[in-house]
Symmetry: C2
Amino acid sequence: MVKSSSFNSKYAAICLVCSVILNLFLVLNTYVGHGRAYLDGLVVDGNGEPVCECNICYSGADCSHFIPDCIANADSGDPLFLEPFWLQHAATSAVVTAGWHRLSYSYNYDGDISKELEKLIRKLHAIVGNAVTENRYIIFGAGSTQVLSAAAYALSPENASSPAGVVASVPYYALYKQQAEYFNLAKFKFEGDAHKWMNKSDGSTYMIEYVTAPNNPDGRLNKPLLQGTNVNTVYDRAYYWPHFTPIPAPADDDLMVFTLSKLTGHAGSRFGWAVVKDETVFNKMMHHMEVNSIGVSRDAQLRAFQLLKAALRGEGRELFDFGYQTMKTRWERLSSIISLSKRFSVQKINPEYCTFYNNVREFSPAYAWVKCEREEDKDCYAVLQAAKITGRQGYRFGAEDRYVRLSLVRNQDDFDMLIQRLNALVSEEDGAKIM
Amino acid sequence: MVKSSSFNSKYAAICLVCSVILNLFLVLNTYVGHGRAYLDGLVVDGNGEPVCECNICYSGADCSHFIPDCIANADSGDPLFLEPFWLQHAATSAVVTAGWHRLSYSYNYDGDISKELEKLIRKLHAIVGNAVTENRYIIFGAGSTQVLSAAAYALSPENASSPAGVVASVPYYALYKQQAEYFNLAKFKFEGDAHKWMNKSDGSTYMIEYVTAPNNPDGRLNKPLLQGTNVNTVYDRAYYWPHFTPIPAPADDDLMVFTLSKLTGHAGSRFGWAVVKDETVFNKMMHHMEVNSIGVSRDAQLRAFQLLKAALRGEGRELFDFGYQTMKTRWERLSSIISLSKRFSVQKINPEYCTFYNNVREFSPAYAWVKCEREEDKDCYAVLQAAKITGRQGYRFGAEDRYVRLSLVRNQDDFDMLIQRLNALVSEEDGAKIM
């Protein structure tokens, strides 16, 4: 349970943090527990108090009971690793919304994008030095998810006889394929691995290449593989923050997609944005947002505004220091275990100069891209599952099932459990040193 | 400017309401001004204080300066008529969100829908008696906008040789056409007025009929025109609340769409929902939300939860009384002017028994569907525009341009200006009595 240490004994049993005010002001610098209670949490016992929502391997009214046979969840990229930062900054990052706040569809200037939030995002990129935003348009979406599909619609030719081909280098983030296969087969069609198209494209076929840099799942700073007048490139920059990668230079691409989820950890807010060079593409994406959802929730925009304001105090140093240290420590713990193994391997990326920190930074990726090295371990997911670890199958990234992605961005309990299970698995190996 | 009367003179110049706490607790029972300031409002002068955002016909630092030549805006359905209700309930409807509130993609039970909000929505429908929700699924979307397109995808057959036909009775809400023409021409195609298809459909063509009840723009409780095994009906129930219509009985349709926008006035939150009978349709719609935006912003869900909780105090009586009285008064003022005119007419709908109020209620529609009766007034929009009134053209509803929709749900200043301009226009008519 999340609670203030000074109120520990007195309130532990009643899930203190449920109350509005206490939410903010009593939750101080401690994050000692294995669950949390929210204002909109499930009310089970009818007394109106939300119950504690426990981390996966814990149960009980105050989430203190450990479930021994628990499976380590390293599946989704739920970015709870940043939650302790926000517990430490509960008051400055809080937002109070009156009932009468912004009922309208439009902000004052008659659009559905908060200009103050847009300004703050430009400032953020300038401070971090990870993207050029001067003379660029900024569009908001419900997470990078909605922004990515808006880009696919906007970059597909109108009234073409055949759909634009959508490609990405293997291993790729599964959503590109899902969206291309779901929304509009007549407009864009998933064509698999970009490598296959490097010499194949005749220049007359319209192509959309998603370039994920750093890449999900393997953290590499991917470069585009296709070029030509009929090729459009969407740069998914979700992980291009000092948490996960050294920033060698500000990205200066035609269409760059970012998300709050992997920056501040607020995946649930569903807030993402794109930085767009071309006015026509921008207008098409705006039209997409309009027809799809009449823009992004103004509540999510207000929350993003408040969170980014809090994050940018002290030039963002505190947030990025926390994020980087956490990810680096996690990577060291995981890779040191894997290094003892002959059965498993993970990606290796060399340290690089980071312009944000003005020094060379270690690799601190969001995910481990694990390979099962034994000939017989063709289904690496099953191998890990048998050891009570849930990863994500290689096929979902267009890769062999000899690969599995393990998420390192989840909450500390999930990560600790992953390390415990991995340690046990590796120490069973013939010839592996026991940690 | 929105402000507390007791602090009136002292703080008028500095846009008092900007501050977090004052937002909630000093804004009491007065709504005397012509603008408001928000936490995320535009900061122009660099001192960090958001400027007041003025209603359309007002300007100046405190929005007290009337712009004499101002055009009355009766265009969009921006539901600001409910803002005074929330000013009166500022404290109970406020929501305080800590920085660490719900970072995750999922609620505790591993979905992206708040179960407590879902419960509250079921309770709301039970109290109002406007929809059957027992044994139905509920899905959330970014406003009814996203829900409506999810329905189109879910109800279109898979791998069909020709697209499903999308129809609605003229006059219809323009979004159905926009969405059908934008998203996926291979899957669904806009086929215009449902009347044309009443005897034409051969039963083998898949059809999707949008039935808007009450209708936007004319407030009628539309019924479906098409029937048959290959016909699917989407009931847009956005206006099926006691504000706008007597509730004759709970709606019991296969797929009903609602939105917070026309219930509480919070258009900007982008929160809507559907009540769905069929499990397969529900699962397809859930998949749509997942691929489109990974569900609805948890911030919007929290806001909706808090607003609906506040609205349901006293069985919702206060909100609906306020909404109904406002809309009824507005309708009376507008229709009494039009009744003096020979040049213009509006729709007439008889009073009906309302099960929510247990008595007969007057018609209190969200929009006036105005007809220009003179032969030469073929462009009714231009006629009104010349009299400094902006409505919405008939063609946008699939109707003749002899019709114009005038929005009655906007803020009081907009409505008052509309009445003033209409009054002037009608009193110029030969033979019309001057009010």
